[in-house]
Symmetry: D3
Subunit: 249 residues, 6 copies
Amino acid sequence: MRWDDLSSAQFRERVNDSTLAVWPIGILESHGPHLPLATDAIQAEWGAETLARAVGAVVLSPMRFGNAVATRPYPGSISLPFDTLRAFVRDTLSEVARNGVRRILVLSGHLGRDHMAAIRVAATDVAEANPDIALSVLSDWEIVYEIRDKPPADYRGVPIPPDDSHGGMLETSRVLAIAPDLVDMRRAPTHIPRVPSPEFRIMLGADRTYPQGVLGGDASKATAELGREVNRIVEARLRRIADGLLKAP
Amino acid sequence: MRWDDLSSAQFRERVNDSTLAVWPIGILESHGPHLPLATDAIQAEWGAETLARAVGAVVLSPMRFGNAVATRPYPGSISLPFDTLRAFVRDTLSEVARNGVRRILVLSGHLGRDHMAAIRVAATDVAEANPDIALSVLSDWEIVYEIRDKPPADYRGVPIPPDDSHGGMLETSRVLAIAPDLVDMRRAPTHIPRVPSPEFRIMLGADRTYPQGVLGGDASKATAELGREVNRIVEARLRRIADGLLKAP
Amino acid sequence: MRWDDLSSAQFRERVNDSTLAVWPIGILESHGPHLPLATDAIQAEWGAETLARAVGAVVLSPMRFGNAVATRPYPGSISLPFDTLRAFVRDTLSEVARNGVRRILVLSGHLGRDHMAAIRVAATDVAEANPDIALSVLSDWEIVYEIRDKPPADYRGVPIPPDDSHGGMLETSRVLAIAPDLVDMRRAPTHIPRVPSPEFRIMLGADRTYPQGVLGGDASKATAELGREVNRIVEARLRRIADGLLKAP
Amino acid sequence: MRWDDLSSAQFRERVNDSTLAVWPIGILESHGPHLPLATDAIQAEWGAETLARAVGAVVLSPMRFGNAVATRPYPGSISLPFDTLRAFVRDTLSEVARNGVRRILVLSGHLGRDHMAAIRVAATDVAEANPDIALSVLSDWEIVYEIRDKPPADYRGVPIPPDDSHGGMLETSRVLAIAPDLVDMRRAPTHIPRVPSPEFRIMLGADRTYPQGVLGGDASKATAELGREVNRIVEARLRRIADGLLKAP
Amino acid sequence: MRWDDLSSAQFRERVNDSTLAVWPIGILESHGPHLPLATDAIQAEWGAETLARAVGAVVLSPMRFGNAVATRPYPGSISLPFDTLRAFVRDTLSEVARNGVRRILVLSGHLGRDHMAAIRVAATDVAEANPDIALSVLSDWEIVYEIRDKPPADYRGVPIPPDDSHGGMLETSRVLAIAPDLVDMRRAPTHIPRVPSPEFRIMLGADRTYPQGVLGGDASKATAELGREVNRIVEARLRRIADGLLKAP
Amino acid sequence: MRWDDLSSAQFRERVNDSTLAVWPIGILESHGPHLPLATDAIQAEWGAETLARAVGAVVLSPMRFGNAVATRPYPGSISLPFDTLRAFVRDTLSEVARNGVRRILVLSGHLGRDHMAAIRVAATDVAEANPDIALSVLSDWEIVYEIRDKPPADYRGVPIPPDDSHGGMLETSRVLAIAPDLVDMRRAPTHIPRVPSPEFRIMLGADRTYPQGVLGGDASKATAELGREVNRIVEARLRRIADGLLKAP
């Protein structure tokens, strides 16, 4: 069920305080020479739609603009200021709440630190103004990096190198599983080493360190099979989170 | 060519100062019991994609959130504050310009007065900061209402009543031509009279005057054929505007 | 009756919820070498005072600062940012409402697109916060351009060329009728052709196209007689609008 | 010479970097049952015009809206928020500077603490952005209260009680000298005692302490003669300040 | 009693609507080559602590950042923008009020015009939102300059030259009395003449007029004895102000 | 070396582009019935001063106001809005940079998610505007929680339960080591169980879950000895971070 496709009459008939709304947020950001600029959005939208089918949620219109100061210099990247993203998220969630929705999951395909902060600060404002709402905010990449760092017992995929990161083997695999036509494996970079940053330092200009736009890992080893396995675990985890929201008082 | 689908490498190879970027903006807003909430977005995105195919433009990621204070009370409508929409448009267009694009067409499917003002004020800010840009902002409904009020010589459709408006015969016909699966003609209201507003008065609460969400016209008379005829004229007009942008110095 | 001239005691005695307040807003903006910078303000203030005498309204203190990005480069022009004008109008109208006034007419002598948008967005905010108010916003030039494009049946003046515009024959005539001492007809430009702009394009820097500051028309053909005739029709129309406000529930 | 009355051509011919611009700012605020709401504006505009005649300055369009939180509750008072007044003054002075004016005197008829702070903070911003400007900000009441507290050697008027204040003998006398038709001496309150406020306390709601709107003094003792004497000294002092601005490098 | 040192439990037990909270605000600003950058903070904190001991008040955490545009160019000076200082003070005082405190004294060691305006405008906002609060805002230097200009009957110190100012004899003496280790009398400048500013002129760049950072007076004549005498009078005056707050209804 | 204690002359002599400035930021926030409201500030200031002694840094004036929405309901807590904290940090760091400092460590004693986001977003703005700066932002509690979760090889303290948190054994031990007079061990709560939150949920109102203000752990088991051991490791880690900043190009 998509919010956008419902008529106002259908919305009134089908959406109420027990409905879960899922909102996928992405970004247009370089992910190397082999992945589309919308890579993060594609994964978030896959997650939202998969989850909506599984638990009967309504998917709110995807939003493909986000914040990414450090990767902004790459061609095609679009980064909104922190305040603009935050106002946009806050005002949209406020409208969702005004429409009577009481269970909301914001799913970001992009895991930039300031990007997530903008969304969470916005969500906190909405939660303060609507104390009866159950509202969760996460990036599917918080789950994916958990899989990388500490694979769950039922993980059946290949071992994942600890430095696999933005645009690397995992991300390329996931997009291969979801939207293979948008991946050009001929241009996938082989292993890009992860360059350690000084601890707690504010770093900008990722293009100076990573000219190819992959921030660590070997994209050329990506497979749709690995992508499906990772996505399976992401989906299961999203379902648990959605169940929590659906059972909230 | 979709901005979102390009990799950063492809973007660098294919997008330059002679490229035209088209950005469709919609809204989620009640359009009566028979049309989807995304009705305006659907028309704007059709226009952008049709135009891009015709003239080789790049389509920027569609944006389906807008401003509509008067129709906000209908279920499912989402209205961003003026300032949030404006900041969003200003910052996105600034990023488009930072990426080297010099010819931009913003195409809004929604023709709300404040909505268009927010977009135009934002565009003016971007034009001031980028004096070498050619930038046009319009709603396809500025064209459609011209067709209604003064049909061009080559118009072949049925006569259009002067009070046909938001959600009426014309709009329903256009969506029938573009996305027929999202129209439920069984629920299309028959003639809704246009209620005259006091001149120059600031009016809110459209739902008090138009409980069904159609603001004038007979949606039940809509046909895909009429929609195609109107869309043909819209497309021709958009091409002339795009030609002007492509020829700008 | 002028708001400014009343004592607080008189205000309490004479102003109440059936009073109409009229607020003239102008701008300081070049109108060619023959017309004063306050040309728009002069016309709006004439309209407000004429109307107040006719229907017994109170005139709020005139405001002669507005927004005009495109004509800002001419010497003597003062253009406030959109936000400053909007905040000013919003906060002033809020105070008018706080003082118990329930019928308000904002009459702008300047018809710039962003200028009017700033005023209307401000007025919408005030209308949302004060649902029992009847509030109209217009420029007298919305009426004047109607006269030019489609003269009413009782119009007795000379034919008006369709390209007559800012600082041209109509505007010069109106100021000749209101404040002849401020017009220097010896410097009135003869016919300035109207240069077509690309459709829907955001245009800045009017001084590059119109070095004399008249944006179309033949100011040298202006007469006080024509000005009086146009003003007569403007006044009649303003009275109808005021009647609507006075009769609002 | 009035900025408003000049054409753009005259402005270019007559206004340059040796011109002094004077900007009178007032407020609409209760001054008792006998004085008009525009009392402060009337005095500031008199000062600006008198000074302009004396030293050949240009008078910028008067502004009659200001900030007055404590006296806001009286009928007819209009108080802009601090930020709105400040933005308005900052943006207007910036435009004055953009037009090439380098000597500016802002003359406020109202001496509210926050009102003056808003103007001075705005002026500081403009001075920082235009280091070559000579810019003074004062209220004529800073001069008048000096006369009250320590009359200059050439003062020829009656003794002034130390508690004479807003709307009292001095202010009423000044308006009697400038605009006698707007004063209703039959309603002038006799002696209103000045109620001491706790030191350094933030006080609001002046109407609770002073129901008549005069904040101290005996308005019934006012005379046009006293007003003229005070105005004479104010004018002389303004001329000295203007001379300083005209001689600034 | 220090707010910071209390546990939450102690706060609940000891702080209530009869408690006076004192908040010392300073600035980091050049005070000549002999006084520490925190000179103003040191005096304000001494005043707050002395007063708290005398009347049993709670001292809120000192704040050592303020606004000082004109003295900003000296090395080590830190000046917050007006808006940032104001928001900080407003939000902190709002929180103090939210915690149930109803008597507040804000004591600034710095007496910059815009600095005090920012604090007072902030305090006015808080007073409007909390009508039952008694709230005073002052700088101890408002008292010290009164002593200089009109010594009270019980003043026993040496005569004070009328041009003694920022960083001069009085200020140096006060810091000698409070924190002698932080004063380097070997570097104390001898008499710095006070340079008259044009009346009412907005002045920036104090370092151009006063390269040493003392804005008038003879710091080399400072003594701890004079500092103690001035501080004694300041303390007595602060007690009277605090008594007023404690007795407020 | 304390910024506050230096004179402007000393600042010019001793602070330059190789100087490291450390800025401790805390908060006033309930930490249970046994710890002072300034608990976080105390730890950050200890860290800053210890580090400054070790590596010769200058300590900027401590700031004891922060953001903590969830723990705001406890008596004595003061929480600034996100925007106010961010503006404060941004403007202060900008001033530090304007004074020529090129190596900055912001050390927050409080680890609230939005609090850290506000500081980091502010620091990012300053880093963008000053590309030659090396700037790190961290909370000492990022280090402490690492010790809890994965004690380093040289850790000699007692085992730390995984649910020890805000106000628990570790934090109480650290304050016992730094400022024992401010801890009241008689009121230290025994074991408070950590209540699991729904994953990724936005949670407010910590006082409903944790009435005592300790968010997990057994404060009654705290010892100064444990505090010293933890502080030793924190100090060593801070020195490594400072070394990185001092060696930055």
